[in-house]
Assembly symmetry: C2
Homo-oligomer: 332 residues x 2
């Protein structure tokens, strides 16, 4: 058994792609999987561990894992180096049980890498404090904009800069749906098409109501602006009230409607909102197509700096996790 | 005398702004200036050093510095920690004498921070090898796109990713000139306006002929794609042959003309070109206005990731130098 011993909490699209990339070989990262838990496809844990390719094979040949194990129990008892939190975001549960998993791993002095944005949106300050106290790392580059560097950008590239505000377009589903409505589709049809493209989920409510964007915005504000902002505190308006007529009317004014996220310093705190906005064609967010995302930082010395991700894929999210694992192996 | 002892080679707009920001206080960086050299405003060197604010005062009250000293001679003999290379780019001299300054500093085991892109475009491999050999750092974040992270982005945020190609719009003057020509101005008038805005230099040839862009592109390809590409090897077409009629014709097709830089892997090497291109409105470079710049990386796992800088100012370039100084004080 060589390299990092991983406990994977979740084995959906991202988890499987991560295993594929690790199996193919990513420079600098060697890993063994000592445990996997899933929502409805069983679990597996063995301190002896298996290479990522063998775990994939196990999953594929059996359509799941043979054991029934409680994730939190494994997080607390199994011997591993890194908890990789890949479970789906649970908004109604305010980021649980992912937060409990990450907390339990850090409390035991194990690193935690989260692709789930819940722990960053609802518990960043507590969890990062706990990680510092225990001398381990809590990393989450893939939680927002896949593996595009947003948290690392701030941490490693913009040191010493003040960030007064940030804004962006962070939700792919609504961007695809608005684009289809510009072409005349109704909301339901546009959502169905986004689902057929594999962009929208079976239940698109969290996207259409702006919740997914609000959770991302809270995570960004907490880490990049040192805010203490829960997603519920984000003023939030979704896109359900919009139809092709609204998009067409904006188009006649030469403008486009995008679901814009914005956080800004406000007295001692940070206030944040998610809402559809009609944008001038010269606005840097107006050009976005399909599943593109953009984050813009309003800084003191550097003015406005944006990072733009064009049509990301699963590889991108899996890369974000790989990059975090590489940080654990070769810290800066 | 506390902090880093700086030798400033050049004291133009960026050098003076750097001194102002250091004087105001930048978290984590304390510095003393032990030497300054300029092209035509004299020089000053004193191992006892002065705080940055005092150097500014000296320069302002006397309109220059009292001594006549040769820069290379000071680089070789004065006791300092960091050479900060702020001299103007000399294209005809293939980046000299800045390259000789940086080489001499590194050879003595001193760090070099260059806002001048010449050393990166013409001598990156040699100078970075020399720095490694001597156990010091050669840093140059401000050489391309001011202080917007392009080199640090690759070094710290996109580790392990393959970069197949990069493209961008990197020259502010041509972007401003093309924008004015879209509004009907002729080339000469547009250049005069860009000069009045403080964007174009008194001699705009290096910008209009695509040389400035080619030097930036070579620097980027050398560092981000491990190329060995001199600016002369970049296929280069400027914008002198264009007039408002060309821009208007593109506009009637719903398109815009931008001076695009592109480098791509080509067999075992990297080939690069700078040329005006007519862009579809959905192209991420089409929206750029004024002095905006954008760099896009075509990666293997993350798809296309861009960094966009909106209307930068002098602070931005000075910040790039400050960030490099911070890296020397608190390395990753």
């Amino acid at each position: 058994m060589t390299g990092l011993r991983l406990l994977l909490a979740g084995f959906g699209h991202v988890g499987r792609r991560l295993a594929e990339l690790l199996d193919r070989g990513f420079p600098g990262v060697e890993a063994t999987v000592v445990g996997v838990t899933t929502g409805s496809h069983g679990a597996w844990a063995d301190p002896a561990g298996l290479p990522p390719g063998r775990i994939l094979e196990l999953y594929r040949t059996r359509g799941g894992f043979p054991q029934r194990l409680d994730t939190l129990e494994i997080v607390r008892s199994l011997d591993y180096d890194v908890l990789v939190e890949l479970s789906p975001l649970a908004i109604a549960a305010r980021g649980e049980p992912a937060i409990a998993h990450v907390r339990a791993a850090l409390a035991r002095g194990r690193h935690a890498v989260s692709a789930n944005k819940g722990p960053v949106a609802w518990a960043y300050r507590e969890l990062s404090g706990l990680a510092r106290e225990r001398g381990v790392r809590f990393l989450f580059e893939s939680a927002v904009m896949d593996g595009a560097p947003v948290f690392n950008l701030r941490r490693h590239c913009l040191r010493g800069l003040g960030i007064q505000a940030l804004d962006g377009v962070l939700n792919s589903t609504t961007n695809v749906v608005l684009g289809r409505m510009e072409q005349g589709a109704g909301l339901e049809q546009a959502v169905a098409e986004a689902q057929a493209m594999g962009i929208a989920e079976a239940d698109p409510a969290a996207d259409l109501d702006g919740w997914d964007a609000a959770v991302k915005l809270a995570a960004l504000a907490n880490v990049l602006m040192d805010a203490e902002l829960a997603p519920e505190a984000v003023l939030r308006q979704g896109i359900r009230h919009l139809g092709p007529g609204d998009l067409a009317a904006a188009g006649r004014r030469g403008r486009r409607i995008k679901l814009v996220c914005e956080a800004a310093r406000d007295g001692g705190g940070v206030s944040a909102r998610v809402e559809p906005r009609e944008l001038d064609p010269a606005h840097p967010f107006a050009r976005l197509e399909g599943a593109d995302s953009i984050l813009r930082l309003h800084t003191d010395l550097m003015g406005r700096i944006s990072i733009l991700e064009e049509s990301p894929g699963l590889d991108g999210t899996a890369y974000g996790v790989l990059g975090d694992l590489l940080t654990l192996v070769s810290p800066y």
